[in-house]
Symmetry: C2
Amino acid sequence: MVKNVDQVDLSQVDTIASGRDVNYKVKYTSGVKMSQGAYDDKGRHISEQPFTWANWHQHINWLNFILVIALPLSSFAAAPFVSFNWKTAAFAVGYYMCTGLGITAGYHRMWAHRAYKAALPVRIILALFGGGAVEGSIRWWASSHRVHHRWTDSNKDPYDARKGFWFSHFGWMLLVPNPKNKGRTDISDLNNDWVVRLQHKYYVYVLVFMAIVLPTLVCGFGWGDWKGGLVYAGIMRYTFVQQVTFCVNSLAHWIGEQPFDDRRTPRDHALTALVTFGEGYHNFHHEFPSDYRNALIWYQYDPTKWLIWTLKQVGLAWDLQTFSQNAIEQGLVQQRQKKLDKWRNNLNWGIPIEQLPVIEFEEFQEQAKTRDLVLISGIVHDVSAFVEHHPGGKALIMSAVGKDGTAVFNGGVYRHSNAGHNLLATMRVSVIRGGMEVEVWKTAQNEKKDQNIVSD
Amino acid sequence: MVKNVDQVDLSQVDTIASGRDVNYKVKYTSGVKMSQGAYDDKGRHISEQPFTWANWHQHINWLNFILVIALPLSSFAAAPFVSFNWKTAAFAVGYYMCTGLGITAGYHRMWAHRAYKAALPVRIILALFGGGAVEGSIRWWASSHRVHHRWTDSNKDPYDARKGFWFSHFGWMLLVPNPKNKGRTDISDLNNDWVVRLQHKYYVYVLVFMAIVLPTLVCGFGWGDWKGGLVYAGIMRYTFVQQVTFCVNSLAHWIGEQPFDDRRTPRDHALTALVTFGEGYHNFHHEFPSDYRNALIWYQYDPTKWLIWTLKQVGLAWDLQTFSQNAIEQGLVQQRQKKLDKWRNNLNWGIPIEQLPVIEFEEFQEQAKTRDLVLISGIVHDVSAFVEHHPGGKALIMSAVGKDGTAVFNGGVYRHSNAGHNLLATMRVSVIRGGMEVEVWKTAQNEKKDQNIVSD
Ligand code: HEM
Ligand code: HEM
Ligand SMILES: [Fe+2]
Ligand SMILES: [Fe+2]
Ligand SMILES: [Fe+2]
Ligand SMILES: [Fe+2]
C-alpha cells in the first residue's frame, strides 16, 4: 500500500539576536511548497525505494518532465512541418540571448549571489526574461542554488555532482527528491524584494506568456510566422536555454582545471564558459560566489560580466562585488602548494637523517678503505656507484673519499647545484658522532622545510 | 710603452691521494698555449686597458677575427660572382648537418661531458667533422666548455653571459681575455684519448682540409662546381655552423624558461633547440651536464640525442648517461617551491598573530557593542566592513558578532573555504588571553608552515 503525504513546508522564521541587541530575521526556506511524493508501508520515501513496474511513475516529477523533456521533444517532432524563416531564426537567437542572460545575470549573479544591485527597470526585465527560460521562479531557483553552494557535493546538494553527470544536469529535477535531504538557506533578502515576490506568485502566467505567447505574437504579428514563433522562437529556443544553463551544474562540475580547490567538484573550463554565457570558471565561482565576475581575464568569455559592467557604466547597476586580487592569489598559492607537496612526497629525498646509524669518525675512515665513502656536512655518503658517472670527473670525487668533503663540495672546488645536493642525499649511509651536530641539524631543518606538508 | 709578454702555460699536473692510497692524476689545463697579449708600463694587461686609437688592434684576437668574421664576410662578398648549383646546395646542407653534429654530439656531449662512450670509428669521424666546423680543437673546446660549466656566470666563465649577449656569442673569442680570469679544470681523460691528442696536434691540417679542401674537392670532382664548393659548401657552410653553435652560449643563456634553477643564466627555449641541433634545454643541461639528453620529451627537437640513441641501437655507442627521473623531478619541485614562496611572500596574509595585542574576553564583549567583532579560534576579527558583502548573507555573519564563532564558521553552520579563512585573517585585531592558547598556537603553526621559505 502506498499513501500520498503532503509534506509540511520546512520554511520557518528564526530570530537571531546579534551582539548589539539588534534583531535580524533569517528566513529559511526549502523552496516552493509542493507535493513531496509517496511513502510505502515500511515508511520509506519513494526516493528510497527501488524502481519497479508498479512504482516507476511515482519516481518522476511529471511537471518537470513535461517542461524539460516532453514539450522540447514535441518541438523537434513538429519541426519538419514548420517551414524555416530567417526573421524568426534571427529573433529566436536574440531572444535566446535575452532569456539566457536573464538566468545568468539575473537569477544567478544578482538574486542568488547578490553580486550587484540593479535599478528597478533592470530587475523587472531580468525577472521577465529569466521567467521565459522555463527554469522556475527566482525564489525557487535562487534558494536551491544557495543550498547547492552551501552544501556542495553532499546529500543536501540538490545537484550533487557525485551522483553522476546526468543527475547533476537534469536528473535531479526529473526525479522526486528525498525530503530528508532538504538543505536550508537564508532567503530573507529575496522575500524583501517585491519583484521576486510577484514573479513567484504569478510564475505560471510569467512562464506561459514569456516563454510561449510573447515569441508567438512577435513572429505572428511581425511577419506572419505564427507556427515558427511557437515552435522555434518559443519552445525550441527555451529548450536550448535550459540545456546550456543546466551545463553549469553538470559540465562545470565535471570538466576542467581546479586552480583554487581540488577538494570539491567545481571546475574551470573555457568550453563551459562558451556554452553558458560565461559561467565556466566554476572553481573560482564556488570560492568567490558573490564576485560579479566569473572569468577574471579580459579575453576570457564572460558576456554576463560584460553586461553587468555595461549596466554599471550607464548607471543602472551598482555595488558590483569583487574579491581582492590578494584573496584570489592566496587561493591560487594554496592550491599550488598542495599539489607541489603531493609531488614532493612522491619523490625519494634520501633516508631521513634521524633514521641513519651513528658511527665514529675512525669507523668512517676504516670503512672508506673498502668502499668509496665521502663525509659531507656530518653525513657519510657511499659514492661507489657514482664515481664513474660524476660530471666533474672521477679524479675529483675520489679526492674526497675517506675525508671530510664539506668544503670542496660546497664551493671549495665547485659549488654544486640543487641536483648535486639531491643526488648526494640519496647516497647517505650514516652520521658521524660528535663535532657535526650543528651541520646535521641544519641539514635536517632544511629538509623538514623541504618536505613540509602545508595543510591549508 | 707596451711590451709583449708570453704567458706561461698554466697547465700543470696535480697528484691527489685518495682515501684508498691510489693515486689519481688530475691534469689541469688552461687550454692551448698561446700568446696572451700585451701589458702596459703600469703592469695592466691589455684587457684591463681602455680602447684607444693606439691600442685597439691589441684588443683583438686576429686569428679568430679572420676565421669568424673576415673569411665569412668574404664568402658573402663573393656570392654574387659564384653561380648557384642545386647539387652544391644539397651537399652544403648535408655537410652542415654533419659538421654541426660533430660539435654537438662529439665535442660537446661526448668529449666535454663524457655523456656516452663511442667506438673508435665514430670518434674519428666526429673528430674530423667537428674539426670542419672551425671552432678549435677538441682539447681546447672541451676544456673551455668545462670551465664554463664549472664557473658559470663568473669572471672565470669564458663565455660569461653577464657581460652581454654579443660577448657570450662571440665577443669572448674576438677579444684578448685577461689571463687572471683563467679557470682550471680536469682534462686527464681528454689527454688519455689518442684521437683527441692527434686532432689537437694536427689541428691546422684538420681544419683546412675538412672545412675548405674536402668540400671543394667533392663539389669540384663531383659535378665540376669548384668555386661553389669553396664558397658555399666550404666557407659559408662553416659560418652557419659557427653561428648556430655559438647560440648555445648566447641565446641559451638569454631567452626562455628556468624550470630547474633561476640563480644562473642558462635557459630552456624551443627556438634555441631548433637552431642548435637540440642544445636548447640549457637550464636542464647546466643542472645535469653529463646527461646524453638535452630535451627530455620525445616530441622536443633534439637530433643530437636521436643520433646518439641510434648509435647505441647499432652498437657503436654505449654507457649513455642519464640522471634519474627522481633527480630531475626533485629539481623541478625545488624551483617551483622557490617561485611559490616568492609569490606567497608578496601577499597579505594578515597581521602575524604574535604581533596582535592581547585582550580579555570581557573587553572583547565590551568592544563588540560598537564594532562588529567576531571571535574565531581565539582571535578577534573586525568584520564591520565585510558584513554587507558576506556571501552567506548579513544575518548569519551578524549572528556571530560579540560571540565565539569558531564552531559556526568551521562547519557548524557552514564549512568555509580557503577563501573564507584567508579573508578572515586579514580582519584580525587582537587575541583573547587565556583558554585559547592551543587554538592560537595551532593557527600560528599552520601559518608558519604556509609562509615557510624553503631555501633549497
Ligand atoms: C660526493 C658526492 C658528489 C656528488 C653526488 C657530485 C655530483 C655532481 C653533479 C650532479 C654535478 C653536475 C653539475 C651540478 O650539480 O652542478 C657535479 C659537477 C661537478 N663536481 Fe661533483 N659531486 C660530488 C663530489 C664532488 C667532489 C668531492 C668534487 C671536487 C673535489 C666535485 C667537483 C665537481 C666539479 C668540478 C663539477 C663541475 C663539472 C662540470 O660541470 O663540468 N664533485 N658533481
Ligand atoms: C566572520 C567572518 C566571516 C567571513 C570572513 C566569511 C566569509 C565567507 C566567504 C568568503 C564565503 C564564500 C564561500 C566560501 O568561502 O566558502 C562565505 C560563505 C558563507 N558563509 Fe561566511 N564568513 C564569515 C562568517 C560567517 C558566519 C559567522 C556564518 C554563519 C553563522 C557564515 C555563513 C556562511 C554561509 C552559510 C556561506 C555560504 C553562502 C553561499 O555559498 O551561498 N559566515 N563566508
Ligand atoms: Fe556549482
Ligand atoms: Fe553560483
Ligand atoms: Fe652554458
Ligand atoms: Fe655543456
